[in-house]
């Protein structure tokens, strides 16, 4: 049987059966109510109780069989699993129906079930984090069993030799990651030197100077910047900004590569402006007015108040916003894939072409390489470093923002 057919039979059978179970449970409750015994819960709640107990065993059997099949384990044939699930449902139905009695707290039972379902849902986000860690860690460890951590962290030469067949060894490959991180930090530096001043000053203007009308107009405009997909920014950087940078450099008698680091950096900075500005805006708005009024009462002008009272008070929050911005810049992929170079290049000159960690990850995993080739594994090692660095930055800023909020609440 096809997967879709099996699913159709399974759910096509389960839904009417649940309806029948609901009707049976409700009927039994109604009958016993009519016979004069006072039921604890409403009749429909007994119906839901019975239907839940019928569906759960069937679902459990179905899920176990499906995940076993996905993992490639030996699974009995589909009709057998289906009839086994049906049997489980029948047993669940019988037990639940027998338990329907005036003393059964059906509502409490349902609500307990709802509570645990909601709790289980909240675990998905934790599983996601574990999923990321596990998926990166194992491949990265395989990589580090072939290449020493020291060479990876301190080497300045990144030149993997492509291997296309599984098991083929690439003896001459060099995996020094310093040039990749240098490129990443250079582009992040350019981005942040655009995003922090522009984002922070716009936030100050919007929260301290702007009239209500300007504010309601400017805020959504800035948010449009945050809503533009990164692939679009990438195209813009590659097709419009890069040639512009080259032209301007030529005008000043400098040579710039068409895949220079400046263009993706500038565009990334523009992309990050709304993150910095909206976070700083929140932070500045949460500074109590009494601080401002105290400064005005002492005769300070608005800008003096901002520079000497508001900004120092808001400093931890603004710092946290900047760190989140850095984390976003480090992990940004599409802009650099489309506009930055592929050549690992250790240089201080942003007009030269440089490559980044994310570019190499994409490059290694979208080619025709064998999955266990060192270059593919190296992508996971780079991913691991990226994860650890961004996790640290995110955690610092999340905790600082939480502390900051509490201190002014």
């Amino acid at each position: 049987m096809e997967t879709s057919q099996i699913l159709l039979v399974f759910f096509g059978g389960l839904v009417p059966m649940a309806a029948v179970a609901f009707a049976l449970g409700r009927r039994k409750a109604l009958l016993s109510d009519a016979a004069g015994s006072r039921m604890h819960s409403l009749p429909a709640q007994y119906g839901v109780y019975v239907a839940t107990w019928m569906a759960l065993p069937a679902l459990a059997i179905g899920i176990v069989a499906a995940s076993a099949a996905l993992l490639g384990l030996q699974v009995p044939s589909a009709p057998f699993v289906l009839s086994f699930a049906l049997f489980g449902a029948a047993v669940g139905l019988m037990i639940a129906l027998r338990k329907v009695e005036p003393t059964l707290r059906a509502r409490n039972a349902i609500e307990k079930f709802v509570y645990w379902t909601l709790f289980a849902a909240s675990l998905v986000s934790i599983l996601t984090t574990f999923g990321i860690i596990i998926s990166i860690l194992f491949e990265a460890l395989k990589f580090f069993s072939q290449v020493s951590v020291w060479d990876f962290v301190t080497g300045t030469n990144w030149s993997p030799v492509a291997t296309f067949r599984p098991g083929q060894q690439a003896a001459d490959s060099q995996f020094g990651s310093v040039p990749l991180f240098a490129g990443t930090f250079m582009i992040t530096l350019v981005a942040m030197s655009v995003a922090i001043p522009v984002g922070l000053l716009s936030a100050i203007y919007m929260s301290e100077y702007a009239s209500y009308r300007v504010r309601t107009l400017a805020k959504p405009m800035l948010e449009i910047l945050a809503g533009i997909p990164t692939v679009v920014y990438g195209f813009f950087a590659a097709i419009t900004v890069s040639p512009l940078v080259v032209e301007v450099a030529n005008f000043f008698g400098l040579h710039a590569s068409y895949t220079n680091a400046l263009a993706p950096g500038l565009v990334m900075g523009i992309m990050i402006i709304p993150f910095i500005s909206s976070l700083s805006d929140d932070v500045i708005n949460s500074i109590p007015n009494s601080l401002r009024e105290g400064a005005y009462a002492l005769g300070a002008t608005k800008s003096e108040t901002i520079k000497q009272i508001i900004l120092p008070a808001a400093f931890p929050g603004i710092m946290a916003a900047a760190l989140l911005g850095v984390s976003r810049a480090l992990g940004e992929t599409m802009i650099v894939v489309m506009a930055a170079g592929l050549r690992p290049n250790l240089t201080w000159n942003p007009l030269e072409d440089m490559t980044t960690v994310t570019v190499r990850i994409v490059d290694a995993l979208t080619g025709d390489q064998a999955f266990d080739s060192p270059e593919t594994l190296a992508a996971f090692a780079l991913g691991l470093v990226l994860f650890v660095v961004t996790l640290t930055l995110n955690l610092i800023s999340i905790i600082v923002i939480r502390k900051f909020r509490q201190s002014y609440e």
Binding site: L201, T230, V232, T301, N394
Partner: protein, 389 residues
Amino acid sequence: MSQGITLSPSRQLKKRYRAEKRFKAYCIGALVLAMAFLVLFFTDMIRQGYSAFVQTEIEVEVTYNEDTVKFTNESVREEVSPLISRAFYRTIPRRVDANPELMGTTETRWLTATAHVDQYRKGYSDRLDPELKATLDRLDSEGRVSYGFNSGLFFSGDSKIPSNAGLWSAFVGSFYVMIVVLLVSFPIGVATAIYLEEFAPDNRFTQGIEININNLAAVPSILFGLLGLAIFINFFGVPRSSALAGGLTLSLMTLPVIIISTRAALKAVPQNIRQGAQAVGASRWQAIRDHVLPLSLPGILTGTIIGIAQAMGETAPLLLIGMIAYIPDAPTSMTEAATVLPAQIFTWSGMPEGAYVSLTAAGILVLLSLLITLNATAVILRNRFERRW
């Protein structure tokens, strides 16, 4: 301020007012700079992309007979033949099969020109054979060349022939992916938010879940791609490049967005509502199900739409799970190889032919208008239905 003491009070005041003006000007300048970029960006995209919405068409006589079914480019006059897009010649045998009465007849049709002709006429490139230029100019003077709406941009799939390439398979792929994202992340996200906001005890574990969700919202998207590759594809065997694999990966990314906005919506419902319901005998869950959730629904839906819009523009994780395959025909199931709008834009941006530049920009305009529509819907929904307490 130490140096200010030596100045007379009025001069000092003037200096301070100048500083005040200067600072305000910097702030306005920053905002203007950001706005200016937005304007520059949109004009640039429209300038590059508008021309791809129309295509050069040429009126020619097409002959259908035994020879032209085999050597399809002989179906039009020899001098005109190289001006017409190859995509049309391919369809001749199929057309004749479908309408046998066409055999042996000649009809006059408007046909799409090649990308070279199109680019030449739109003034993007001058690299057209002089002879072809002469033929084209002659046809033009006879009124047999004009622009027609490029319906293929919307209704045909990807193609290696630029004049024939379109977004249809990407539309279908994006639609499938969004269905998966909605089905997975909406129920789980709302359930998580209800748990955290309404039920969770305030302990270390709950705080851990909260911090974890905030962190997930800031984890680089490409790492979700690594997760999709290692877990969904390599471990669970979900087919590579499929809408299912893409949708599951993007669901995990959309989850934090939905959780955070749903929590905000639940928090906005005042405690009185819960207490009122519980006072007349409702249980905690009944109060949430019958009162809090309906009241916060507009906020929840707004957050969900914004999350979906974000997922729709996401590309990086999809590159890693192979959703940049060449997909000429729209997928018909969740497990078939598919592509999505931003991935199609990325593929086109890497094509060497010049015609793909305007196609890419046109694709970007289509994607942006879809996203703006989605976000505008979310804003309208919020303004219309959200209650202020």
